[in-house]
């Protein structure tokens, strides 16, 4: 990767994500995550040069919320900037923070993603979709996904049972993650398929929750990273692709997912990855619904087209599989929108730091992160213990 200088994640921190946090304001919730990240990086607020906030403000009915909340991210008097790109806000914020340090403008950047959806109505953010078109044919994220899933199932022969396995893996992994919002250690495929249908074929237990939560990570330039952190999680690649604005523009969306394929190809090239399933040690990918994880397996080149169902059935992506996917429990278990992408990045980094405790993948040194948003926007990051 041809960046001006190397950048690494040297600290992470997050709140215990929940349906509702009554005990903290948005600003205090941001501080809870920021304090933990600073402690993990053994740094004080003074050591932070700049702050990046990731948040989808309309879900809480706010404007420029970073002007209040950045004070909770050690940002008082400092350079503060907010990135907001829908579901990818967290990964785009993580990418923005890394690029800022790589530019030489700052040696350390604190990225904090957060959302406090309990403070608005869950569909608050959805009310202000495109006024000319989408607002008249609204069915929210679940409805939009269900449409694409019907295409995906028909074309790739994916079954409802295989999708349910993704939800079971997610909620069981989440049971070993003290920060996850939904933890169901004993969840079974049968229970998922028995849960109410939100929009065929998507059942309640295989759709992501809405959560209150924040997640922070500390970036440092190479010299600071080597001094402060035993095993820095070096940023080896970042890639972003956006796509056309309407769901109907995206032909066979879940099958093609051209943005994720293209971003993954670019990131793999930057990080020298040719066989992702074999070379990657762990992946934290952004799956708002069970079927999406299966579609992402194919787009990320974990398996040939149509083989995603086999991958989940054979446990290839389970904690003891060849490539554990979402040890954290993923977006299916925790979804504070602005934080979700930062959580993916932080969870990948703490695997490389060896701080995954009950959800640690032994010897994890090469991690993949993805972000998903809007209809087909994609981010990819690759972190490694090897600076490359």
């Amino acid at each position: 990767m041809k960046w001006r200088r190397r950048v690494a994640v040297i600290g992470t921190g997050q709140t215990v994500h929940a349906r509702k946090r009554d005990d903290v304001s948005q600003q205090e919730m941001v501080r809870e995550a920021a304090r933990r990240a600073l402690a993990d990086a053994e740094m004080t607020a003074r050591d932070i040069d700049a702050v990046v906030i990731a948040n989808m403000e309309l879900f809480e009915g706010r404007a420029l919320p970073e002007l209040w909340c950045a004070e909770g991210a050690a940002g008082a008097g400092k350079p503060v900037l907010k990135i907001a790109t829908g579901g990818t806000s967290g990964t785009s914020g993580a990418i923005a923070g890394a690029l800022q340090v790589a530019s030489g403008m700052f040696d350390t950047v604190l990225v904090v993603g957060f959302e406090k959806q309990s403070e608005g109505q869950t569909t608050a953010g959805m009310a202000l979709t495109d006024p000319m078109w989408d607002r008249h044919v609204a069915s929210a994220a679940i409805g939009n996904f269900a449409l694409s899933i019907s295409q995906y199932m028909a074309a790739r022969g994916v079954t409802e049972e295989q999708a349910a396995r993704v939800a079971v893996k997610a909620r069981r992994n989440a049971a070993r993650n003290p920060y996850a919002h939904l933890q169901q250690p004993g969840l079974t495929v049968e229970q998922v398929l028995a849960s109410s249908v939100l929009a065929w074929p998507v059942h309640m237990l295989e759709m992501c929750p809405t959560s209150d939560g924040a997640c922070a990570l500390v970036y440092a330039a190479e010299d600071v990273a080597r001094r402060k952190c035993a095993t820095p999680a070096w940023v080896r690649a970042v890639a972003t692709r956006h796509d056309q604005p309407y769901i109907g523009d995206l032909d066979m969306r879940l099958l093609t997912m051209r943005t994720l394929r293209s971003a993954a190809r670019e990131a793999y090239a930057q990080a020298g990855i040719t066989e992702p399933l074999k070379q990657l040690d762990v992946a934290e990918i952004y799956e708002p619904v069970s079927y999406a994880e299966l579609a992402w397996y194919e787009a990320l080149g974990f398996c040939p087209e149509g083989e995603a169902g086999r991958l989940i059935e054979d446990g290839v992506t389970a904690m003891d599989g060849e490539l554990p996917v979402n040890p954290s429990g993923g977006v299916l278990s925790t979804n504070p929108i602005g934080a979700s992408g930062v959580i993916r990045t932080a969870e990948a980094a703490l695997q490389i730091h060896g701080k995954g405790d009950t959800r640690q993948v032994d010897g994890a040194s090469l991690a993949l992160v993805t972000g998903y948003g809007v209809y087909a926007w994609s981010d990819v990051l690759i972190l490694s213990s090897d600076p490359g």
């Binding site: 503060v80 790109t85 953010g125």
Partner: protein, 380 residues
């Protein structure tokens, strides 16, 4: 040096309202002008940084609607939700990092479509300030009063800023066609947030602004003949509670401009800079920001104006474009200031060109009473 140069500038005409243009159509106009100015096609753009604020657009993820017109399909795009100059500084960092060779920066806002002051009441914290009804207007009223109390510089001085910028705007083909505004007109306009009068506040405006940044190497390979270097950049924020601040102090603006000057090798802005474009959402703010930018000691912004220093043709013209008071939308204003600074350095500022410009300052701000400041120094 930030490692980035500016190779293209595109601005729409700024107008009180553009009822017949949807936001994508308005933004496309600025994009095409910037690409034309840089004499490149969209295929030469590596990445995009957009600036827009959802509540003003009345849309969640308000950058979705401009994805195609800013050329972000199958390309990286980051949306900075705030002032356009901050988006430009972020874009410069991504170029400086070596991640992208060219970045298109696009800011848009149609203030005519929404309720500006009420939207701004949602930009102050919901626990201790919003319940009282604080918004950008009343926050400015509190700051204007504090400034008047501390320095004895009041409405009659601010009115001269409006007079200067209205005259400059009439010479700027892109500014709204407004009548001349004498200081007397300003003082005769109705009081809206004592001590501020209607003409003390920047008018609601629609428009879009696009800049194209590049690494010096890519600019050369693209054959750019007049790249303007982004010599320095800085940004910082004040405390959020107005009660935690001295509203007459400009610490954040001082930190932001100090950082930009250090990077650009500027010792004295009055000596080393030939033109300033600052974001004066209210008349008194041009005086206060001039002080924060180090053009003069605290309280002496009015004297600078009195002595003609900041007039067009003065030693250091401020806002020869007409500035925000001349008509420059929220969110777009900071990026438009950078566009003007670049045009001044290039000698392409039709109708409003200042003589012999080698170094120019652009300033952007957002938040209540100028809580966040961005400063950029550009030069030949």
């Amino acid at each position: 040096m930030t490692g980035a140069v500016i190779i293209g500038v595109g601005q729409t005409a700024y107008e009180p309202a553009k009822p017949s243009q949807a936001i994508p159509e308005m933004v496309l106009e600025a994009v095409e002008r910037a690409l034309g100015d840089a004499r490149i096609g969209m295929e030469a753009i590596d990445a995009v940084v957009t600036a827009s604020v959802d509540l003003w657009d009345g849309r969640t993820a308000s950058n979705i609607q401009v994805t195609e017109v800013v050329g972000a399909v199958m390309k990286p795009e980051a949306r900075v939700a705030g002032d356009g100059l901050l988006a430009a500084i972020h874009a410069a960092m991504t170029v400086g990092a070596g991640a992208y060779g060219t970045v298109l920066v696009a800011a848009h806002c149609k203030m005519s479509e929404g309720q500006h002051w009420t939207c701004s009441s949602w930009a102050v914290d919901p626990i201790c300030q919003q319940p009282l009804g604080l918004d950008f207007l009343s926050a400015a009223g509190l700051q204007a009063r504090a400034y008047e109390q501390r320095h004895g510089v009041g409405a009659s001085h601010w009115a001269r800023v409006v007079e200067k910028n209205a005259r400059s705007a009439r010479a700027n083909p892109l500014a709204p066609r407004g009548p001349d505004r004498s200081a007397a007109d300003v003082l005769a306009s109705s009081v809206i947030a004592d001590p501020l009068r209607a003409l003390d506040a920047a008018p609601a405006t629609d428009g879009a602004c696009v800049l194209i940044l590049a690494s010096p190497e890519r600019a050369r390979s693209l054959g750019s003949d007049t790249p303007v270097a982004l010599l320095g950049a800085g940004y910082a924020c004040e405390a959020h509670y107005l009660g935690d601040r001295d509203l007459t102090a400009t610490d954040a603006l001082g930190a932001a401009s100090g950082r930009a000057y250090t990077m650009a090798g500027i010792d004295s802005p009055l000596r080393d800079i030939q033109v300033v474009e600052c974001s004066e959402a209210f008349s008194y703010q041009e005086l206060l920001w001039s002080e924060g930018l180090g053009l003069c000691p605290p309280g002496e912004g009015a004297r600078l104006l009195e002595e003609g220093v900041t007039q067009p043709g003065g030693r250091l013209p401020v806002n020869p474009s007409g500035g925000m008071l001349g008509g420059s939308p929220f969110v777009v204003a900071g990026l438009a200031r950078l566009a003007e600074a670049v045009l001044q350095v290039r000698g392409d500022a039709a109708g409003r060109q200042v003589g012999g410009v080698r170094r120019a300052i652009a300033h952007g701000t957002h938040g209540p009473a100028g809580q966040h400041h961005s400063v950029v120094v550009v030069g030949a």
